[in-house]
């Protein structure tokens, strides 16, 4: 590990003025095994500081993008340290002040980083108790802590505050993550749902996002963009733009930008730039993409196999062959990418909307030719991420421009740029051959997943003969490998690949349940032994008031389930299909989720509700239209995301499981949303729609086909 990314403890105290600091070393072994990553630096992964005023500052490389981790991390520290939530200050995603972190994604903050943070707080509590023991002349076991005050049991006048203990101290502690954590039964702050820490700022407009940062003398940059990905710049005439008052023009290699103190003036100047482009011929579009993916994805590799697929097929009473498809889906966060860069005395500070401040810092350093320690990335609030803010083109652009013009520069993408440069959830194809035997049990599963990756690809059901194959594995790196398969850049999108895999798997299970004349819930339970999954299915059925019967019942009710990020989810939905035009209206969704210990129940419910509301989009309307490298949908007028009238009553039921450490919460509930709606459309109409989204046109066609028996 280089010095550039190591927190200098002496400098840390110079910055903070002393106190008691606790570092947690989260070695690479734990992260490598659980996150499947390489090259995670050996570093201190959490720290907190107790100041002489008794306030506790928590430094975390995780960022707040709406998922509520500012509050839940503070709760974890408050719980283990024994202080009031209100005495905690959070510093998130600042590469000069926070310990290294790979990024905020994968539902990992509470699951993976949480234990380290709690250990740091638990260790700090031990240190403080030891100091208090000396100060008060009483053994540690005779001491109690409440709201940052240590007192002797039965003698409340013998007391000392954390702030008094920290005063004048420069104590550092380094711990591993094995410290004894408080048990669920002891929880006072964890397990409760306090008011979110970010609430006051967010309802008053005080919350700062990257585009709200405005250093003195800042210029707004607008950058010349190609009409399509892969286009080459030909003739360029910037003379009209240069003549405009106050315009600074930058032309450096591939970067052509106009800058102005007024963002609208910068936009007008950009419009006056005349550029000619050579656009390559389009080879594939949003309709031909599926054939392309199957052809270009290469020979599928076997991911998992059990039993004997050939024997399973021979023993089959009925065989079902289905091909499922889904197009590219955009992240479309309400905040488009933005960054502000300022170069001051050789040090570059970049405020960026990024889910990965530390990797972004290193990429900026490389792009502008500075050492990493000469670059600081600060992450203000993010206006949504969903995986889409893991690349950092806008931050690199702002950094390069600030270096070139010598003034602070803001690059804030327009909505059109946001769509154009999105790294989409990949289009994908899943082919499944499955079978049931004469007893209505699944005897065969043979699937090939093209471009959706492995997450959720293997069914959770008890199937004796199974083979799952993958082609066109998702690789996110720098996108070049993916680009050889995909005409557009792709990247992680809330529960990457799992949404498509669950849609295919859970639709196929539903097809077999219907063919077997079985209730879809009963059919699932017949093939599931895992008690966690059985419990969430039962909990969903109770909340939903599930009435058994084979589909299609005409009622528009359905079930789907999934395991993702360590959480178990069962969803039940009720839909109506408008007979006139095929529009799907979702009236109600129940989600039962087992996510282990819950740090903040209301926060967890917000994530479940939000995931389902977002999932309505990929289920019902979202499919990016494109022709070659030309992105045809570039704003919300044609790319329709869920609106108020689409959102059903969503009931989130958290199935208690305090025996298990906290699991993922941001992603799991979106995984089965597409599947449960597709299954409910089948139950309502008898039409099995095998392509997402379920547009009115596809539903109408599906209904017509189901009536003529295909």
């Amino acid at each position: 590990m280089s010095d550039a990314v190591r927190i200098d403890r002496r400098r840390f105290f110079q910055l903070t003025g002393g106190g008691i600091a606790v570092f947690v070393s989260l070695g690479p072994s734990a992260l490598l095994s659980q996150e499947g990553r390489t090259g995670h630096p050996e570093d201190f992964n959490a720290y907190l500081l107790i100041g002489k005023d008794g306030r506790v500052t928590v430094f975390s490389g995780k960022i707040e993008m709406g998922q509520g981790v500012m509050t839940s991390q503070a709760q974890m520290v408050a719980e283990e340290l024994g202080v009031a939530l209100a005495s905690i200050d959070m510093v998130l995603g600042d590469t000069d002040r926070c310990p290294f972190d790979r990024g905020t994604f994968g539902s990992l903050t509470t699951r993976m980083f949480g234990p380290a943070l709690r250990a740091a707080a638990a260790e700090a509590r031990l240190v403080l108790l030891r100091l208090a023991s000396e100060r008060l002349g009483a053994p540690p076991e005779k001491l109690v802590v409440e709201n940052g005050v240590v007192s002797v049991v039965g003698e409340s006048s013998r007391r000392v505050t954390y702030g008094e203990l920290a005063e004048g101290k420069r104590i550092t502690r380094v711990v591993d993550e094995k410290a004894v954590l408080r048990a669920v039964g002891q929880f006072q702050v964890m397990g409760s749902s306090p008011r979110r820490i970010d609430a006051p700022e967010k309802v008053t407009g005080r919350a700062k996002y990257a585009g709200d940062i405005r250093p003195a003398g800042m210029l707004y940059a607008r950058i010349l963009r190609p009409p399509a990905h892969g286009a080459k710049l030909g003739k360029l005439d910037t003379s009209a733009a240069e003549k405009r008052e106050g315009v600074t023009l930058v032309q450096r290699d591939d970067l052509v930008a106009v800058l102005h103190a007024d963002p609208e003036a910068a936009s007008k100047a950009l419009e006056s730039v005349h550029a000619e482009w050579q656009v390559p011929d389009a080879t594939v579009d949003n309709e031909t993409i599926f054939e392309h993916l199957v052809k270009a994805g290469g020979t599928p590799e076997v991911k998992e196999t059990r039993g004997d697929v050939a024997a399973g097929r021979a023993a089959a009473a009925r065989v079902f062959e289905t091909t499922y498809r889904k197009g590219y889906v955009a992240h479309a966060p309400m905040e488009p990418h933005a960054a502000v860069a300022e170069l001051l005395d050789g040090k570059l500070t970049v405020w960026a909307s990024t889910q990965t401040p530390f990797p972004t810092r290193d990429r900026i350093a490389q792009a502008v030719g500075l050492e990493s320690k000469k670059v600081r990335v600060i992450t203000p609030f993010l206006g949504g991420g969903f995986g889409g803010k893991s690349a950092d083109r806008q931050a690199l652009e702002a950094a390069r421009l600030a270096q070139i013009v010598g003034k602070p520069v803001q690059v804030a993408w327009t909505r059109e740029e946001e769509f154009f440069f999105d790294r989409f959830d990949p289009a994908a194809v899943v082919e499944i051959v499955s079978a049931i035997d004469g007893n209505g049990r699944i005897s065969l599963w043979d699937s090939t997943v093209h471009a959706a990756g492995e997450r959720g690809a293997t069914p959770i059901y008890d199937i004796p003969n199974l083979r799952v194959r993958l082609s066109g594995r998702i690789t996110y790196g720098d996108g070049t490998e993916a680009l050889s398969l995909h005409p557009l850049a792709v990247g992680p999108w809330r529960a990457p690949g799992a949404n498509m895999n669950a849609f295919a798997v859970e639709s196929q299970i539903d097809i077999m349940a219907s063919a077997a004349g079985a209730d879809p819930l009963e059919f699932r339970l017949r093939h599931i032994k895992d008690p966690r999954m059985r419990r969430v299915l039962q909990a969903a059925a109770d909340a939903f008031d599930w009435k058994s019967g084979a589909g299609p019942s005409g009622k528009g009710r359905a079930v789907a389930c999934s395991v993702d990020a360590g959480a178990y989810d069962a969803l039940m939905a009720e839909v109506r299909v408008e007979p006139a035009d095929g529009t799907v209206r979702v009236d109600r969704i129940v989600c039962a989720q087992d996510m282990g210990i819950v740090v903040n129940p209301d926060g967890a419910r917000m994530q479940i509700e939000g995931a389902i509301a977002m999932g309505l989009g990929y289920a019902l309307s979202e499919e990016l239209r494109f022709r070659g490298g030309d992105v045809l949908d570039r704003n919300f007028k044609t790319y329709r995301i869920p609106r108020f009238s689409w959102v059903p009553r969503i009931e989130a039921v958290i199935v208690k499981n305090d025996e298990l450490a906290p699991q993922g919460g941001g992603e799991p509930a979106i995984v089965s949303t597409g599947a449960v709606i597709a299954n409910a459309v089948f139950d309502a109409t008898g039409a099995r729609i095998c392509r997402l989204p379920l547009t009115p046109e596809r539903v109408r066609e599906g209904i017509a086909a189901s009536k003529t028996g295909r």
Binding site: K202, V203, T204, G205, R214, E335, L382, M614, F644, V647
Partner: protein, 159 residues
């Protein structure tokens, strides 16, 4: 062409000398340092830039500054009074009517206009009234609950 535009902004008399065709959104965010009003789409499709002009919801990304001359403009920064949150702000906090918070100023301002128009809207009227405001985090049902609660308090209207 430069002109002088005078209006009341969050209760204070304000004069901006500028090109009258400039959009209210950018004048607020740059000249007046009020960054609570957000850019979301630039074409009036998402509602993130919603402000009140004479008690009605207006999309600041579609409004030339000259049009607010002589008007009363309220942005999210002007809703709390004397450090006390507006009932809608309170209700958004209480009901968790936000996640990332980026659409929140526009949501609250549009809700404010809705309650100015219709102090006790039905659930359906709230859904209809908020249809033009996009939220990607999926806080919709809590936003509706917050607006219902704020209207129930009988103090829904903004300035």
């Amino acid at each position: 062409m430069k002109m002088s535009v005078q209006f009341r902004l969050n209760g204070k008399p304000t004069t901006v000398r500028t090109d009258g065709e400039r959009l209210l959104l950018w004048v607020l965010r740059t000249d007046l340092d009020l960054t609570g009003t957000k850019y979301g789409c630039g074409i009036g499709e998402c509602g993130a830039c919603t402000v009140l002009v004479d008690r009605q919801a207006v999309l600041a990304c579609q409004t030339p500054i000259k049009l607010v001359d002589g008007s009363e403009v309220v942005t999210i920064e002007g809703l709390a009074r004397d450090g006390k949150l507006h009932p809608l702000q309170e209700a958004f906090v209480e009901h968790g009517g936000f996640q990332c918070g980026y659409c929140t100023p526009g949501m609250i301002m549009n809700a404010c206009a809705l309650l100015n128009r219709e102090p006790r809207p039905s659930h359906a009227a709230i859904v209809k009234g908020m249809e033009g405001n996009l939220c990607r985090c999926g806080a919709h049902q809590r936003i509706v609950a917050a607006i219902e609660a704020a209207s129930g308090s009988g103090k829904g209207g903004g300035s």
